[in-house]
Point group: C2
Chain length 202, copies 2
DNA sequence: TTCGTTTTGTATCGGACGATACAAAAGTCC
DNA sequence: GGACTTTTGTATCGTCCGATACAAAACGAA
């Protein structure tokens, strides 16, 4: 019974992600959203409730198809240290390749929305925890294989790596300079790559 | 000749900083600004032109009284490595002590405004360069004093430290967890503090 | 005092915002 | 073919936005 929907929910959520990703929550108008999604205002409200609810749906969709996808792909690599390096390689290349400098929707939201919206802040904190947990698993795995310098403490290093993800994403929103981003992560990747049985070069 | 202004420009700029710092450029209305600044809308426009011009004035004022003030104070410390550590100590404490989670106006602006406003992006890039340059000077000074491990390359490490500043400021907008922020900077500060004549503990 | 200049206060301007009322349309079920 | 339900399209709703027009007010200059 009832009239069927004229749009695919995943498709219009992707379009909503495009809007929110580039402009943020407040600066994106419902008319912008409806136009990009190819539907009318009332259809948007009927399907998603209000702008904030649509934003949360889009954020969740982004986290699955972007963040978790990359984490899952990296976690399948045999070498955990190479997985961390590849993670940042992809992150920097993707950030530099985007002419709109959109950065990361999660990081953007952490800064724009989280301080004023406790419910969304909880979502963001959980997503950031997932990234940190990925790094920690990789580091613990490397340490278990005897591949990590003992001075590298997995918990703190995972926090630092999460911080680097945030820093790369924020920097890439202002400047497009590969040497700057590469240089930022280089000392840390070198610290991780160092084998425990090889002395730090004098 | 002419009627004198009823307000002090520095005072109202401080009030404008409070607004923009907490809510950003777009989310702060001219009525919010005028209310906090204690003046009327037309006075605001008469004195500052428009909202964006006021924002740039407030940003410049913030950079001087907040960023450069801290850099100048840290640079006067005799030990450059201690200056770097103290810089982050202050940064983290200030971030955690703010109940409004305002973070840093420069970092907030880098994420909110810079991608869509090339002129402001140039200002932000210059401010970030100042922070990076401060770290680089401190590292070069430490190296010249024989106090820095040779594996620490000042240029890249300065970029990394700038990244850490950004990361601390963004993280503190979402979570209030000192152990998280301390843990994030701990591996780097340990790397910098390590004396070149002392072997990394096995 | 009168003139000239700038600032201040009141009252808006047109437009964009988020969100809806309402009826026509497009389906399923009997 | 009707009855029922949900979606769609049109036309708004009241509110807030950035920005001003205009005149009264407050000063220095003459």
């Amino acid at each position: 019974m009832s009239r069927p929907r004229s749009f695919d929910e995943t498709d219009v959520l992707e379009a909503a992600i495009d809007c929110f990703w580039a402009r943020g929550l407040e600066a994106t108008s419902v008319r912008d959203l409806a136009g990009r999604m190819g539907i009318n205002g009332p259809s948007l409200y009927n399907a998603f409730g209000d702008k904030r609810s649509l934003f949360m749906r889009a954020l969740e969709h982004y986290a699955v198809r972007s963040m978790r996808e990359r984490i899952g792909r990296m976690e399948r690599l045999p070498d955990p240290k190479a997985a961390i390096a590849a993670f940042f390689g992809e992150l920097i290349s993707a950030s530099l390749a985007d002419p709109d400098r959109r950065g990361c929707l999660i990081v953007n939201t952490a800064l724009e929305v989280a301080p004023h919206d406790p419910e969304i802040a909880i979502l963001i904190a959980a997503y950031l925890d997932e990234i940190e947990a990925f790094f920690r698993r990789a580091l613990v795995r490397a340490a278990a294989g005897g591949d990590l310098a003992p001075s590298v403490e997995p918990t703190d290093m995972a926090r630092l790596l999460l911080g680097l993800v945030i820093a790369v994403r924020v920097m890439a929103r202002t400047v497009s300079d590969r040497s700057r981003l590469d240089g930022m992560v280089r000392p840390i990747l070198a610290l991780i790559q160092a084998r425990p049985d090889i002395r730090t070069p004098a």
